[in-house]
């Protein structure tokens, strides 16, 4: 225990802390804490009234215990009592306790607010500051309601002490951030702006944070602050280091205030008034000049403070983006920092240069530093600095240096940290595509990418190379030749096999003339990889094989043999088996003409925004990729390669693939398009898939019918989201649990769900009310959240309620609507009756409208199914048709039930 304890020093507290520190184990610590808690509890409950000192001491001990990470469920009342103590130290501990352990107990809040009110009106500056601190620390809505009107008055009152003004300004800022609607500036606006002129530097420093925030929200009302800020800045910048006394920090005059002023100016465009603008430019030049002067101190604090202002000034220069001279000077200054011995400065210089690179005035100047940046990428020891260097290379890339930069990034990839590889891969892929003049270079680059970092090459990347090859016939022969060579490596990445399979299946004929890559050689090469690949890749290869049969009739016998072997045609994976069976059949019964039509070369993909870019944006979160960059790539991407966005998976020409073959891009446009396809679709789907995707884009009811006879299962699933339901029904009541699972590693933001009952349904199903609180707006990657729906059925109905889900994934808003599988049959009760009773009742329901009948083809293999209740079912064995007859007392029920059940066979 240290001997020094200034102020009063609570001995009991020090002893307790010391005891805790001496505890040898976690258990011992908990034991000691429990003992202390029992002691404090008995003291608080005891008959003897505690004096202020003891109360303070115990409250302080509780606080200590809480800060150690233990729960505290009492003592709040005693802390509130301390607030009204006249002794400063007791009051102070009381406020500290309240600030740290906020309790939303409304009774308590009322008492706390009362104490705060008393202190605010005490005219005692120390007490006022404590109260203001407490408001800022708690910052709750209740406090905003109680004090939002009082604090501006304190802030601008003529007789308020400076220290109180400082606290009031920041307290008001806090309340404005939590409850902007309650803080009405109106009449105070101009007086608050004029705090920029206050004589007391501390007041200005505190007030400017408030003014900046208010200016961001209401720029027009606060625009008079621009000229005031410029003159204040100019006074500081031109002052000698000693002028500002204690506001000079290591020989730098008022660094915090200077930065805040420069930040405030970034809320506005360049000043229109020539004189103000001239003065500001002068300030900025002075700041740039000072950077060249020898340092006034060797201390790092001096250089940090000075450079903080410099970086803030550069931010302002970039924000204005209108002074070529200043932009170039800024760039040169950052260039110097790129080689500075301070790692922090190198890091910041790389970061700032990224923004400079996007300005047309400084882009060229930034490019001159390319060698230094490449060197940083190779030699920096700190991964975060290397990452900034990679970012900058990406930002400074244009047609003139693309080959060099892409080559450097590729070689860096071989040793790059695992954490940033995926992003690097995307960046390389984007640059290669964006600046490709020569498409053989593009193909080489992507294949290199797969070779070097195959595991990090996402689907979007290899889809994209295929789209581009399909769309550009000048590169197809080269691509075929290159993938053929790449596949000859003894171990090649599965992604390479995918690209190879696809491209050879389409364009293998272009290299078939060379005996070294004759059709059979190509086939054998592909097939040698087959057994090492995953199911989706094998499925793709099977499609490539059938394409081979069309391209090279001489391979037909060999390939048919492969398809016919047990490992294909009896494969346990339904998708593979189906492909094998269908392709084998297709190749043996279809005429050459039919085959040639069905297996025709893929048509060019439609032009769309690069899906890789979209992916990078998602990865980096909104705002990471500037709009101009996007438009750029759209324009360039468009004219150069007519890049499309549809997934090139062979799926499009064959049966529906597993979910990994999701049609990219479309995912973000209409998530329902990516719904998992049932594995049972047929070859004829080729033709329906060629049309516009998923006519049901508005409402997805894929999962709906599967739930007519079951209560639990997966209702919906795509690449991002899985929705599972569990439901239970009793008489006319139902309860449904919805589970939303985030399948990605990125969080979903603004996640909201709403359930609506379309049309007349409203009056038929009562209160699909969300019984629990609405779902959390954030769903972390990999997390699952749950929601409960209570349902009451009032009368029969046929429509289903709709579930609408909205969320943000990366930057893109996802919106999907699903039919909730709440169907009338869920509310049925089974009844037991003898067969004679049954037929008697059946006859009673004899009115024609009470009967519904449907004759339909079986969807599933026939099985003798037993149907209960009043359903009769005739099976006509030869035609595989069912006849379903229902009779119900209510005709609408018969009809609806008939529709629902018919789909189940």
């Amino acid at each position: 225990m240290p001997a020094v304890s200034k102020g009063d020093g609570m001995r009991g507290l020090a002893v307790f802390i010391s005891d805790i520190r001496n505890c040898k184990s976690k258990e011992a610590e908990i034991k000691r804490i429990n003992k202390e808690l029992a002691n404090i509890r008995s003291k608080f409950k005891g008959d003897k009234a505690l004096d202020g000192y003891s109360k303070k001491k115990y409250v302080c001990k509780l606080l200590f215990i809480f800060l150690l990470g233990h729960d505290i469920d009492f003592g709040h009342m005693e802390a509130v009592n301390l607030l009204s103590s006249n002794k400063y130290t007791e009051k102070q501990i009381g406020y500290l306790f309240i600030s740290v352990l906020v309790n939303s107990n409304s009774e308590l809040i009322r008492l706390i607010n009362n104490a705060i009110k008393n202190d605010l009106s005490s005219r005692n500056p120390t007490f006022m500051c404590l109260a203001l601190h407490c408001i800022a620390n708690v910052g709750s809505r209740e406090m905003a309601e109680a004090f939002a009107s009082e604090i501006p008055r304190i802030l601008v009152a003529g007789d308020t002490m400076d220290s109180v003004k400082q606290s009031a300004a920041l307290c008001l800022l806090r309340l404005y951030k939590t409850s902007p609607d309650l803080v009405l500036m109106g009449e105070w606006t101009s007086r608050v702006v004029h705090l920029l002129n206050d004589q007391h530097m501390g007041v200005v420093t505190a007030a400017i944070s408030l003014i900046t925030c208010l200016s961001q929200k209401n720029p027009d009302e606060f625009k008079t602050c621009v000229s005031l800020a410029v003159s204040r800045l100019s006074r500081i910048v031109s002052s000698a280091s000693t002028d500002l006394q204690d506001y000079t920090y290591y020989f730098v005059p008022a660094p915090w205030l200077s930065c805040k002023l420069l930040r405030l100016l970034q809320c506005y465009p360049p000043p229109e008034d020539g004189a103000v603008k001239g003065r500001l430019v002068e300030c900025l030049e002075t700041i740039l000049n000072k950077a060249q002067e020898p340092p006034k101190s060797k201390k790092v604090q001096h250089s940090n403070a000075k450079n903080a202002i410099l970086f803030e000034a550069i931010s302002l220069i970039i924000h204005y983006d209108s002074e070529p001279n200043l932009l170039v000077r800024a760039c040169n200054q950052l260039g110097q920092f790129l080689q500075h011995r301070e790692t922090n400065l190198r890091y910041l210089a790389l970061e700032s240069m990224c923004t400079l690179a996007s300005s047309e005035f400084s882009h060229e100047a930034v490019k001159t530093h390319i060698e230094t940046v490449i060197n940083a990428l190779k030699t920096e020891r700190d991964v975060s600095v290397r990452q900034r260097a990679a970012d900058l290379l990406y930002a400074m890339c244009d047609r003139s240096n693309a080959k060099q930069i892409v080559a450097e990034m590729l070689s860096y990839l071989e040793t790059a940290d695992y954490s940033i590889r995926e992003e690097m891969v995307l960046k390389v892929a984007i640059l290669a595509e964006k600046y490709a003049v020569d498409y053989s270079w593009y193909v080489d680059t992507i294949l290199n990418l797969i070779r070097i970092a195959g595991d990090y090459v996402s689907e979007e990347v290899w889809y994209r190379v295929i789209q581009i090859v399909i769309n550009r016939d000048d590169v197809q022969g080269y691509a075929a030749k290159t993938v053929f060579e790449a596949l000859q490596a003894p171990a090649c990445h599965e992604n390479m096999v995918k690209v190879g399979g696809y491209i050879l299946g389409e364009f293998g004929n272009l290299i078939a003339g060379d005996p070294r890559s004759s059709p059979l050689v190509q086939f054998n090469l592909l097939h040698s990889k087959f057994h090492l690949c995953s199911v989706p890749t094998r499925a793709l290869l099977l499609s490539a094989y059938i394409k081979f049969i069309n391209l090279f009739p001489e391979t037909k016998a060999t390939i048919q043999e492969v398809l016919r072997c047990d490992s294909q045609i009896r494969n346990s994976d339904v998708e593979l088996q189906q492909r094998a069976v269908e392709y084998l059949k297709l190749s043996s019964i279809a005429s050459t003409d039919v085959l040639a039509t069905v297996l025709e070369e893929m048509p060019p993909f439609p032009e769309r925004e690069s899906s890789i870019l979209a992916k990078l944006k998602k990865k980096k979160g909104p705002g990471a990729v500037s709009v101009t960059e996007l438009e750029d790539s759209k324009r360039e991407g468009g004219e150069l390669n007519g890049g499309g966005d549809r997934g090139p998976d062979t799926a499009a020409m064959a049966s529906t693939p597993s979910p990994s073959a999701d049609l990219l891009g479309i995912r973000s446009a209409a998530p329902v398009g990516a719904a998992p396809a049932s594995a049972g679709s047929l070859l004829v789907d080729v033709f329906s898939e060629a049309g516009p995707i998923a006519p049901s884009a508005a409402v997805n009811d894929d999962g709906f019918l599967r739930f007519v006879c079951k209560n639990n299962g997966v209702l919906f699933e795509n690449q991002l989201l899985q929705i599972g339901i569990k439901s239970e029904y009793r008489q006319n009541l139902g309860r449904m649990y919805l589970f939303y699972g985030n399948k990605t590693s990125v969080q979903f933001a603004s996640f909201t769900t709403t359930v609506s009952c379309p049309g007349e349904l409203q009056s038929h199903i009562l209160s699909m009310h969300l019984c629990t609180k609405p779902v959390e707006p954030l769903v972390e990657g990999g997390a699952q959240i749950q929601q409960v729906l209570n349902i009451e059925c009032l009368t029969d109905f046929s429509d289903a309620p709709l579930l609408n889900i909205k969320f943000r994934y990366g930057g893109a808003l996802q919106n999907l609507t699903l039919k909730l599988p709440v169907t009338i049959n869920k509310f049925f009760q089974p009844t037991e009756m003898t067969s004679s009773d049954f037929f008697q009742r059946w006859k009673q329901l004899s009115q024609p409208q009470q009967e519904a009948q449907k004759i339909f083809k079986a969807n599933h293999s026939m099985d003798t199914e037993v149907l209960k209740a009043k359903v009769r079912q005739n099976v006509t064995p030869h035609s595989i048709m069912y006849r379903l007859t229902l009779r119900c007392s209510k005709d609408s029920v018969s009809r609806r039930l008939c529709e629902l059940l018919a789909e189940q066979f």
Partner: protein
């Protein structure tokens, strides 16, 4: 603005936590875990800045203690380093050669000093003298436990 400030030892023991926005206790524990593991894993002489979610993490080690400050994206990293430094100076001035033990045993003082310096995640007072003056004023109030509040005005 600043979002939170954490002080922890080389062993990852938390010594002080200040949250400038309301956060649930569960979330706090998660952040503390993330920060200690992230910062303690850094190599010496790396840069003092990290990106974490949408925040910038600025950290610096003083003797056995790590100071870890989270700021919003548009804030200035270098200045944040100096916020940490100024706080260390204030602690040092108050305790005289401050060490980890001072902060453990007088944690409430460490909070009071921080409150004089920062408020609501913004700088309130950068002047060392001004902060010290208010801290000393309140200490004098503490020594004289019998003083009633009329006398307090002397120190405003």
């Amino acid at each position: 603005m600043m979002r939170f400030l954490l002080l922890f030892s080389r062993q990852g023991k938390l010594r002080l936590q200040k949250w400038f926005t309301p956060i649930s206790e569960r979330e706090k524990k998660k952040i503390i875990r993330d920060m200690t593991s992230m910062v303690l894993a850094r190599q010496p002489r790396s840069c003092n800045f990290l990106h974490w979610k949408d925040l910038k993490i600025i950290y610096k080690r003083y003797a056995s203690l790590y100071f870890c400050l989270a700021i919003e994206n548009q804030e200035n990293e270098l200045l944040a380093l100096e916020v940490i430094h100024r706080y260390v100076e204030l602690l040092d001035k108050y305790f005289g050669n401050v060490c980890e033990l001072d902060i453990i045993f007088n944690f409430e003082k460490a909070y009071f000093i921080l409150d004089e310096f920062l408020m609501g995640g913004e700088i309130q007072e950068t002047s060392k003298q001004m902060v010290n003056r208010s801290i000393e004023a309140s200490d004098m109030l503490q020594e004289d436990d019998n003083s009633d509040w009329y006398e307090v005005e002397l120190f405003g």
